[in-house]
C-alpha cells in the first residue's frame, strides 16, 4: 500500500491542513509520498521532505501549475497515480477543486472530508451539515479522499529526511487561466489554524461595530470569524465565514458574539474546545452548545471584556 498526498502550500511552507492530512495518511498506513505542485514551489518541497514519515517528495514546479489550476493539476496526478492505493488531499477549496476531477479521470468515486480513519478503506464523514455522521466504505481499487484538517492533529514539521524527486511531466490542458487573485491581507492568524477565534453575527449591527471584535481579537492574538448573516450583510468579507458552506474551525477557544447559533453556523464550529457565547437573547440556540454563556448587551460586554484582559 502506498499513499500519494497532494500538499497544500504557499510555495515556501506547507499549510497546516497538509500536516493534518499526513496524520490521516499515517493512520491509513503504508508508504507516504508528498506531491508538491505549483510554480516556484521548490522551497515547499524542501519543507515537505522534513516531515517525519514521508518516504519521498515529488516536485512538479512549472508555470502551467501556477495557482494549481485544477485541469492541469488533475491531469498530472492521473499520470502518476498508478503506483498508489490511496490519493489524499486536504479538504480546502483547492483540494475540493481538483480532487473530484482526479477521481473521475481514474474512474473511481471520492470520499469527501473524512473526519476519522476506521480502516484502510472505511472512513467517517459528516453529512447533512454535520447533523449526521456516516461511516463509508470505499469499494474502489484506488481511494480518492479529501481530509478535514480540524479533525486530525498536524504532523511534525521537523525530523524527516525524505528525498525530493523532480517530475518531468508538464500537463497543460490550456482550458483555464488565472486572471487575478485578491487575498485578504491580515496580520491575524488564519481562521482554520487559530487557537482563539472571535466571531460575530448579525447582532453586531454594522461594519463599524464589527471592528470592536477585531480590537478584542488583536488583544487575544485571535482570528476573526463571522456567520453567513454577517457576511451577507456586508460587515466583513466572505472568507471570514464559518459554517456549513464556509470554513470549519475547531479552536481552543471560540467566542461567539451577537450570533444566534443557526445549525448551519454550528456545523462549522461545534468541535471547538471551549465555546463562549455573548448574546442579549437568552433563548438563542448558541447557549445550548456554549460552555460559558453571558446574557448581556454586546456593546457593553465586548469593550469591558477587552479592557479586562
Amino acid at each position: 500500500m502506498a499513499i500519494l498526498l497532494i500538499a497544500e502550500h504557499d510555495n515556501a511552507l506547507l499549510k497546516s491542513a497538509t500536516l493534518s492530512t499526513v496524520t490521516a495518511a499515517t493512520q491509513i498506513g503504508g508508504d507516504i509520498d508528498l506531491l508538491v505542485v505549483g510554480n516556484g514551489c521548490a522551497a515547499a518541497a524542501d519543507a515537505a521532505a522534513k516531515v517525519p514519515g514521508v518516504r519521498k517528495v515529488l516536485l512538479a514546479d512549472n508555470a502551467v501549475y501556477d495557482h494549481e489550476i485544477a485541469e492541469n493539476v488533475a491531469a498530472l496526478i492521473k499520470e502518476i497515480a498508478a503506483d498508489y492505493s490511496h490519493i489524499l488531499a486536504p479538504a480546502t477549496t483547492n483540494g475540493k477543486n481538483f480532487m473530484p476531477r482526479v477521481a473521475a479521470l481514474l474512474d473511481v468515486g471520492q470520499i469527501s472530508e473524512i473526519m476519522s480513519v476506521e480502516s484502510a478503506d472505511t472512513f467517517k464523514r459528516p453529512i447533512y451539515a454535520g447533523n449526521a455522521i456516516a461511516t463509508v466504505q470505499s469499494l474502489d481499487a484506488v481511494k480518492v479522499i479529501t481530509v478535514r484538517g480540524t479533525s486530525f492533529d498536524p504532523a511534525a514539521t521537523e525530523g524527516g529526511s525524505a528525498s525530493v524527486e523532480s517530475l518531468s511531466q508538464v500537463t497543460d490542458t490550456g482550458l483555464s487561466r488565472l486572471v487575478s487573485e485578491e487575498l485578504a491581507q491580515s496580520d491575524r492568524p488564519e481562521l482554520t489554524t487559530a487557537k482563539i477565534i472571535v466571531s460575530g453575527g448579525r447582532g453586531m449591527g454594522d461594519k463599524a461595530h464589527f471592528e470592536m471584535l477585531e480590537t478584542l481579537a488583536d488583544k487575544l492574538g485571535a482570528a476573526v470569524g463571522a456567520t453567513r448573516a454577517a457576511v451577507d450583510a456586508g460587515f466583513v468579507a466572505n472568507d471570514y465565514q464559518i459554517g456549513q458552506t464556509g470554513k470549519v474551525v475547531a479552536p481552543e477557544l471560540y467566542i461567539g458574539v451577537g450570533l444566534s447559533g443557526a445549525i448551519q453556523h454550528l456545523a462549522g464550529m461545534k468541535d471547538s474546545k471551549v465555546i463562549v457565547a455573548i448574546n442579549k437573547d437568552e433563548d438563542a440556540p448558541i447557549f445550548q452548545v456554549a460552555d460559558y454563556g453571558l446574557v448581556a448587551d454586546l456593546f457593553e460586554a465586548v469593550p469591558e471584556l477587552e479592557k479586562s484582559l
Partner: protein, 249 residues
C-alpha cells in the same frame, strides 16, 4: 447557446435532520423536500442569462425518484424551458450522475453547464468537477461572479483567504456558491405555466450508463451531543472562568 442546469431533490434547508433508530440512514419519511439551495442559485443564473439574451434555451435535469419532478417543475416555474428527469429509485452516486450528465451533454451540446457546488444532504461537492473531467471541459467551481464572452467565461471563485478570478474556455462546467445571486420566487401564473412545459422521463439505461456503487454506507449516527455549560453573570466572572477553569487565555 443552450444552458444546461441541474437540480437535486433534498431535505428542506430548515428541517431538522433525524437519524433512523437502526442507524442505517437519515429518516426522510414525511419530511419536507425542496430544491437543493445551491441548485436554485444555478437555475436563477441560467434564467438570468436567458433574460439577458445570452442563452437561447435553459434545460434543467434532475436524477432521482418520480417525485423529483416537483423540483423540476419549480425550476420550470422559475423560468427554465424544459426538463429531463432521469428516474432512479436507488440513490445514484456522484460518479454515476456525472456519467449520465456527460451523455446528456453529448446529446444536447450546451455551451454552458451550471450546477450547485454541493448538495446539502451528502455534502460531497464532487459532481461538477467529475463531469468536467469526463467531458474534458474546463471547470469554474464555487463561483460568486460570472461574465460571459463568446469564447470564455470569466468567473470569480470563492477560495480560502479571498477571491480568485479565472478565465475558463467554453463550453465549461460551473458550480455556484451562495453569493452568486438571490433566487427568485416563482409567481403563481408561472407555476401554472410550468405545468405545461415539456418534461421527459428517462432512465440511466436510456443513456447506456451502468449504475455502480463506488461506496457502501455502513452506518449513520447522530453527531456527539455537546452539553450546554453554565451561564456567567458578568464579564469579570467570564474572564475568571476562562483563565482559571478552562485555562484557555
Amino acid at each position: 447557446m443552450k444552458v444546461l442546469v441541474t437540480v437535486k431533490r433534498v431535505i428542506d434547508y430548515n428541517v431538522k435532520v433525524r437519524v433512523k433508530a437502526d442507524n442505517t440512514d437519515v429518516d426522510l419519511k414525511n419530511v419536507k423536500m425542496a430544491v437543493n439551495p445551491f441548485c436554485e442559485i444555478a437555475v436563477e443564473q441560467a434564467v438570468r442569462l436567458k433574460e439577458a439574451g445570452k442563452a437561447s434555451e435553459v434545460i434543467v435535469v434532475s436524477m432521482g425518484p418520480q417525485n423529483a419532478q416537483e423540483q423540476l417543475r419549480t425550476a420550470l416555474a422559475m423560468g427554465a424551458d424544459r426538463a429531463i428527469l432521469v428516474k432512479s429509485e436507488e440513490a445514484l452516486e456522484s460518479l454515476t450522475v456525472a456519467k449520465i450528465l456527460a451523455k446528456i451533454i453529448e446529446e444536447e451540446q450546451p455551451g454552458l453547464v451550471i450546477m450547485g457546488k454541493q448538495s446539502i444532504d451528502t455534502d460531497n461537492n464532487q459532481t461538477g468537477q467529475m463531469l468536467a473531467a469526463l467531458t474534458g471541459m474546463s471547470q469554474g467551481t464555487f463561483i460568486s461572479g460570472l461574465e460571459l464572452s463568446d469564447t470564455e467565461a470569466q468567473v470569480v471563485r470563492e477560495i480560502d483567504g479571498g477571491l480568485q478570478t479565472l478565465a475558463v474556455k467554453l463550453p465549461a462546467i460551473l458550480t455556484v456558491d451562495l453569493r452568486l445571486n438571490e433566487p427568485r420566487y416563482a409567481s403563481l401564473p408561472n407555476i401554472m405555466k410550468a405545468k405545461k412545459k415539456p418534461l421527459d422521463t428517462k432512465s440511466p439505461e436510456d443513456y447506456g450508463v451502468e449504475v455502480k456503487a463506488n461506496t457502501k454506507l455502513l452506518k449513520v449516527e447522530p453527531p456527539a451531543e455537546r452539553q450546554a455549560g453554565i451561564k456567567v453573570a458578568s464579564v469579570a466572572e467570564l474572564v475568571d472562568k476562562l483563565k482559571n477553569e478552562a485555562k484557555v487565555i
